[in-house]
């Protein structure tokens, strides 16, 4: 029954995607849209071609790797600092009382709004991009880590105390593990905002990266190139989300959601 439903859903999904491509194909081939909208074959051809023929300085793969490197550095920094700060806020009322007001002022500002300031502060080099990506993901990680730490079940803490665990053991054995699912939810959202932030940063100032490809396409009126860039962005975004999901399943196999 279950597998039947699954295969049905898969079939319908494939049909839906196919029909989108068909509409795209006919619209791009036989209507006026074709002026600004290349056919799927042309995009596909260009995509394959770009893997070997450089766009600007690098091939498509290198551009994507550049973007990925930036995301990993920016997201890595925001993860580490965000988790530490969020957990500290959740664990200690004092830390929360001090940090919370400052955090609340910064939180509603979207990461992208930092771009102009970042450029003035750090120029148009890599630091600016790391900073923008960092700001894009930071708040979410802090909030989720705080939530997870703060929502630890007091009964479990009491149970651990009665079994002779000291403060440090309770922190590492009870509070941190119970916060992990929350932290992961935060990381997942932040990774996708980081991916968005890197594209924005690259579109504004860079000489390489997936964002640069799109921008280049716009500047040269090359719609095929824009679509190639967009497709590679979609593929990477999809892959990143799935990697996170697999990691989550590994680390949170004890939750209802895990398995």
């Amino acid at each position: 029954m279950k597998t039947k439903e699954k295969s049905l859903a898969l079939g319908v999904g494939v049909l839906a995607v196919l029909s989108v491509f068909l509409v795209w194909y006919f619209a791009a081939s036989y209507t006026k849209v074709s002026l600004f909208f290349p056919t799927p074959q042309r995009v596909f051809q260009r995509f394959v071609e770009s893997l070997t023929v450089p766009i600007g300085k690098y091939t498509l793969l290198m551009h994507v790797l550049y973007s990925l490197k930036r995301v990993f550095i920016g997201f890595g920094l925001s993860s580490i600092t965000g988790i530490i700060l969020g957990v500290a806020m959740g664990y200690s009322k004092t830390v929360n009382a001090i940090v919370r007001p400052i955090f609340n002022i910064i939180r509603p500002i979207p990461g992208l709004a930092w771009i102009p300031l970042a450029i003035l502060w750090f120029g148009i080099g890599e630091t600016t991009k790391y900073f923008i990506i960092f700001m894009g993901g930071f708040a979410n990680i802090v909030l989720n880590s705080f939530d997870g730490t703060n929502k630890v079940n007091p009964t479990l803490v009491g149970a651990a105390e009665l079994l002779g665990a000291n403060k440090f053991q309770i922190f590492t054995n009870i509070i941190l593990p119970s916060a992990i699912p929350y932290i992961f939810a935060g990381l997942q959202v932040s990774l996708s905002t980081s991916w968005m932030a890197v594209l924005a940063a690259e579109m504004i100032s860079s000489y390489e990266g997936a964002g640069w490809i799109i921008n280049m396409g716009m500047n040269t009126g090359d719609t095929v190139l824009i679509l190639v860039g967009m497709i590679s962005i979609a593929i990477i975004g999809f892959a990143l989300a799935n990697i996170m999901r697999v990691l989550e399943r590994r680390l949170c196999s004890w939750t209802e959601r895990g398995k």
């Binding site: 009491g158 105390e161 009665l162 079994l163 665990a165 593990p177 196999s253 004890w254």
Partner: protein, 268 residues
Amino acid sequence: MDGKGKITVRCKDLCKTFYAKNRKQDEENEVIRNLNLEVRENEFLVLFGPGQCGKTTILNLMAGLVEPTSGEIEVNGKKVDGPSKDRGMVYQTTALFPWMSVMKNVSFGPRMQGVKKAEWKKRAQYYIDLVGLTGFEDSYPVKLSGGMQQRVGIARAYCNDPDVIFMDEPFGHLDAQTRYLMEEEIEKICSKEKRTVIFVTNNVEEAIYLADRIVVLTDMPTTVKKEYMIEIPRPRDYTSKQFLSLREEITQCVEISGTFEEAGHGDE
């Protein structure tokens, strides 16, 4: 029972009042008033009382998780101030650590005290076998049924080798069938592993089936109403004459004062 012996737990004039800030005025909720109780070593004591009469609060006080308003609690002559590994607890709904396997849950106490791995493994395995969970060492609690989870909770408490184990309506959430099974099980465990157990319940049958002594509690503010020594030989038969007449007697004892319970106090 031999009638005398070492006193393990002693409550002297124990009082607990919860103060809650309500919208307009401060609310006072007197849960326990002048409770005196002595529990002997290796005794199975059942605290039996109507609905929500502060039984959980009494356990939390004795465990050191809640501070008394006045009065004193001593365990083995030492005054209780805060939770300690000398006192174990089996919870109403399981308070297992969901991110730890059965083995890691049961061995938690010894592991935290720095017991060597070979040693805690052996000890935990013994108790896992004792509660009948052999083969489930690596399962996570989420995969176990309610009854199995309670077995893990019981094994966890025993494995830490406390002086006294508190059991807070541990079978209250199980279906009737599992409940009978668990009552038999706990009796077996207790006859094998002699410990002082203080067991809270609002089920008369469970109380008579398990107890060496039943302490009947009053409504809130709770204090001791009456005590029954249960001398029916074990294993006890739910349908024997002695059992049924005792059941009648205790039920009546509770019903005389039986008023409708109030909601919203210390019982979590």
